[in-house]
């Protein structure tokens, strides 16, 4: 087989690697469904075929080896590979057909948005309590009493009552929770709880209590201070 076949195969391999391993790691991206990757690879393939057959010479250089390989004429040691390909192709087609008709055995995918947009009236609120050691201390006391059973005395989401809840209580020492959020966002989440989430946050699943029925606003603002201080994080600001 000529080297002219090697290039397309390598190219397809590279495109696959990019789609499979690099794209999902781009911030804000997600793993691509296999059907989409398949589609992209098909597009790449037709691109290569069209390109390779543009001129008469490259056409022959491209098709010649494929044709020789498939008919098995004068390919010597590649005969084994040829049989493997001729055997694998039907098997793979069969497997693809089977997996596309088989009903899914997995529960519905949980595409829960963890940080949906807060209602307008909460954006831009600032903490009205001045940040004194006293206020922080008080906040930590409230946290220990009301929040630590779920979110943990160490702010790690591993409180003694956390285990039965799905999704699990947030881990505040993780940089992807409160460190990414503004104080006003926390105020909304603590006041309205899991049931305050919009539909993409799947409010029916969240065990986060609706604290407005039990705690005055001032306590909530103090808890927010105590929470950041205890978890060694600081709120996100736009300055």
């Amino acid at each position: 087989m000529g080297g002219s076949l090697l290039k397309p195969v390598i190219l397809i391999g590279i495109v696959y690697a990019i789609l499979k391993f690099i794209v999902p790691n781009i911030p804000g991206s997600a793993p691509l469904p296999s059907s989409l990757i398949f589609l992209y690879l098909m597009l790449t393939t037709s691109g290569i075929v069209i390109f390779a057959t543009l001129s008469g010479e490259s056409k022959d250089a491209f098709w010649g080896p494929i044709q020789r390989f498939l008919t098995g004429e004068n390919i010597g040691g590649l005969q084994v590979l040829r049989y493997a390909v001729l055997l694998l192709f039907p098997l793979i087609v069969g497997w693809q057909t089977y997996s596309s008709t088989a009903t899914s055995d997995a529960p519905p995918a949980e595409n829960r948005t963890i940080h949906p947009a807060p209602p307008g009236e909460y954006t831009g609120l600032s903490n009205p309590v001045s940040k004194t050691p006293d206020a922080i201390q008080q906040g930590k006391g409230f946290y220990a009493a009301f929040c630590s059973p779920c979110h943990g005395g160490n702010f790690d989401g591993k409180g003694p009552a956390a285990r039965g809840f799905n999704p699990p209580p947030a881990n505040f020492s993780d940089p992807t929770t409160i460190a990414m959020l503004q104080e006003s966002y926390l105020f909304w989440r603590i006041k309205k709880g899991g049931v305050g989430l919009p539909i993409e946050g799947m409010p029916w699943k969240s065990a986060m209590p609706r604290w407005e029925v039990e705690l005055p606003d001032e306590w909530i603002w103090k808890i927010i201070m105590g929470e950041y201080d205890g978890a060694h994080q600081s709120p996100r600001t736009w300055e």
């Binding site: 195969v9 393939t45 004429e73 793979i92 049931v195």
Partner: protein, 276 residues
């Protein structure tokens, strides 16, 4: 080179590179870590009155962690039951769900419950309490208490709205042995009251949640766990498995045959084209 010959070459190339693509497609797995109770279909009668029946062996157990109920008032900071093992079976008409959990003492007030959503609307796991931005539906609760020795079919839509239904479709039986409760709930998969009862269609996943009360009394004669003071879970999944369907294998076999035929015809034509 003839026209037909050229077309053949096209086909052959696409077949070749297609292999690469298909291979690439199949290597992508679909790993998922959600926990669900799966009820296989069994022939013969369901072991509704017998939590120890060997028939339960055909159901795969699912174990769910339980939390003391600290989500709303009145809370409890520690509950007796930490884990709950669930098995389920159905026979095409009725479903049987077996809850199994450790409880050091048998008490008259020991109780357990299963919760479902009703209809198409989502319901919060805590008694279907109202949600601010989503219109919720009611929950259907199947309740069993040791001293009553029966299942009770209930509904709630918000705290303090729990009520016993006018029509009772749920049966329950508990057996206590060796520090373990085994409680079986049974009900028809479908009922005539879709506004109040969860309807279980085979093959589809529905939501399920659990609660358990240790009915032990403390020194002053107060129940240790009662009302909102219990062990709870939030939503997990439940599915009554559809009868086995082999059509996927037939389609796959057909596809293999077609692919083989395609290869055969292609190579034959290529060879002919070559020698011509």
């Amino acid at each position: 080179m003839t026209r037909g010959m050229q077309q053949m070459k096209w086909g052959c190339a696409i077949a070749g590179v297609g292999i690469v693509c298909v291979l690439a497609g199949t290597t992508i797995g679909f790993a998922q870590e959600s926990v669900a109770v799966r009820a296989p279909m069994v022939k013969g009668t369901l072991p509704a009155d017998d939590p120890s029946s060997a028939v339960w062996g055909s159901a795969t157990p699912a174990t769910f962690p339980m939390s003391p109920q600290v989500h709303w008032q009145n809370r409890i900071q520690e509950a007796t039951v930490k884990d709950l093992t669930v098995r389920a079976l159905h026979d095409g008409t009725n479903v049987a769900i077996l809850l199994e959990y450790a409880d050091p003492t048998e008490d008259p007030d020991d109780s357990a419950a299963i919760e479902f959503m009703v209809g198409d609307k989502k319901a919060h796991f805590a008694h279907g309490q109202p949600m601010a931005q989503v219109e919720g539906g009611p929950v259907n609760i199947w309740f069993w208490k040791n001293k009553d020795g029966k299942g009770v079919d209930m509904n709630a839509k918000g705290f303090g709205t729990l009520k016993v239904q006018g029509h009772q479709d749920v049966k329950a039986k508990g057996v206590y042995a060796n520090g373990t409760w085994k409680v079986v709930f049974t009900r028809p998969l479908a009922t005539e009251h879709p506004e109040e009862d969860t309807q279980i269609a085979t093959g589809g996943f529905i939501n399920i949640a659990f609660a358990v009360w240790d009915g032990k009394k403390d020194a002053s004669g107060e129940l240790k766990e009662k009302g909102s003071q219990k062990a709870v879970s939030s939503w997990w999944y439940f599915r009554a498995e559809a009868p086995p369907d082999y059509s996927g294998y037939y389609y796959a076999l057909l596809a293999v045959g077609l692919a083989l035929g395609f290869q055969f015809v292609l190579i034959r034509k290529l060879k002919k084209g070559h020698s011509a």
